[in-house]
Amino acid sequence: MAASSFPHDDGRAALAAIRKHCKDLQADLDLPVGVRTDVVDHLCLNLLDKVDKFTAILGFILRSTNVRNPFELHYIVKKLVSRALDGDVSLLISSEWTYVPFTYPMSVDQLPDAILIGTPAPESGNPLLIPLAGHEVGHSAWRMYGCSPLYARMANQAVKEEIDRNKEAGKALLEAAPLKALDKDRVINQCAGHVMEQLEEIFCDLFGLYLFGYGFIAAFDYLLGPGGHVRGLDYPSDDQRMAILVEAAGDKVEGALDLRLDAAMAAHWTVAAPSLADKAGAEIVDAVTRSMVPQVRTDLFARLQSLGINPPQQHVIDNVLQAFERGEPYPERVELGEIVSAGWHRLRALDLAPCRGADEEEKRGNRSKSYKVLADLVLKTIEVAEYHDRIAGHA
């Protein structure tokens, strides 16, 4: 694979990191005579895990060279991700046959300096989905910013207080386990663990929102709406996620991004109830998570600002949108979040506008043509931004 051709150096860098990792693993095989068999078993299991995971990652690296991939996005997304993570990362983008954008979760542990973004192949012509990668990159940011130790103690304490405050749910939760001191400790630690899991997901949503603004919410709404997935304690409910995004994007709370949103954006999202067994736990965990969201939001936005990253600016989005309405790419250097936000505003306007055509088939054809034109405008504007950036000597 290393001998094949890559469109950029990141594929090769990821391969080199895997090779180094494998050499380290090889050193583990230098075992003494008489080593315990259970140690050997664990080592074999571990090596099988690595082979399993690296095989999937190697396949991804290979597919990232496919000419169907949106190479236009690579430079500008990598630039943004490197700035947000405050370090040099390898970025690989590939279209994959899953319907939701993702990053390989195992790459966070196995290849911490490589971000692997898979975008849905059926939507490969749609550059407006790239904001959702912001959520996935957020998982790397959560680790790099050191969020877990920062919020862990708060979570433990807040759960304890919430159990004492919400007597009914607290009692129901503790009654599910035999009432011994140890069980209460276990329940508190378990709930705090779920709070941390929920906070990480919300952090990732807010991370995507800050980088991509309205573009993130619109892509989120498009791909995941109307929500209502099965509810577990380790994940915030979909409607709750949307509500948090809308609040952070609006102008009602301190530090919010003050972006223009569609009035009914969150209105159609459905509420997924937790199972009966999880009801009391969800009440406690959700309440604590909600209480910690403002702190997480404030910390995250301040951190990104300190890295010199600004959220998409509404007046710039409006300028780009006007260019799109004229059927032109925007000629100045703008941020990726501003381009995709303008793209989503335009797409939503196209959806609402009546389409010309003698019959339904012609109307559908015209609408689909207008989407394609918009996708081209977005990609061209991204290329223009890259051009300006390289010319300015930031490359």
Partner: protein, 153 residues
């Protein structure tokens, strides 16, 4: 935002604890056989346990244990003692003792009995913290290589 968060604490994950535990078991086996061994792996595991079990805070309260780590530590305790812990304090003391033993192994030669006990402990940690998928998932019955919940989860 990060303030002065300890570097280990910032990047710590359950996977990391499990991985360090296996590496430490290997190093202890090398030490037992009189081979050259890497003491830094043991020191790193001790540090990882210190920040996740709350030992660094010295309070002995569950509030200082990393959220979600109580149950895996509790199961390691059970397999080590073949008995129920009576209180959180039992688990906390068990972890503090284990950390001290790992520290000792990282700094000087320890006796064979303790070394064997530590290898058991490390393997249990590895089992608990590196959650492995069922084996059949590796031989073609897996529906997809990456969970669809990667985004939704």
């Amino acid at each position: 935002m990060m303030m002065q968060t300890h570097a280990m604490a910032a990047r710590l994950s359950k996977f990391k604890v499990g991985d360090l535990a296996l590496k430490s078991a290997l190093e202890l086996e090398r030490a037992r056989a009189g081979m050259k061994y890497d003491k830094s792996q043991l020191a790193e595991l001790a540090e990882a346990l210190r920040v996740s079990a709350g030992e660094a805070d010295g309070s002995g309260k569950v509030a200082y244990m990393r959220p979600g780590y109580f149950e895996p530590f509790e199961r390691v305790y059970r397999s080590s003692h073949a008995a129920e812990p009576k209180s959180f304090d039992d688990i906390h003391k068990f972890m503090v003792r284990a950390i001290a033993d790992i520290d000792a192994a990282a700094s000087r030669k320890i006796n064979e009995t303790l070394m064997a006990k530590l290898v058991d402990f490390c393997l249990e940690l590895n089992r608990e913290f590196v959650r492995r998928p069922p084996t059949e998932n590796r031989v073609g019955r897996r529906e997809r290589s990456v969970s669809v919940e990667a985004f939704v989860r």
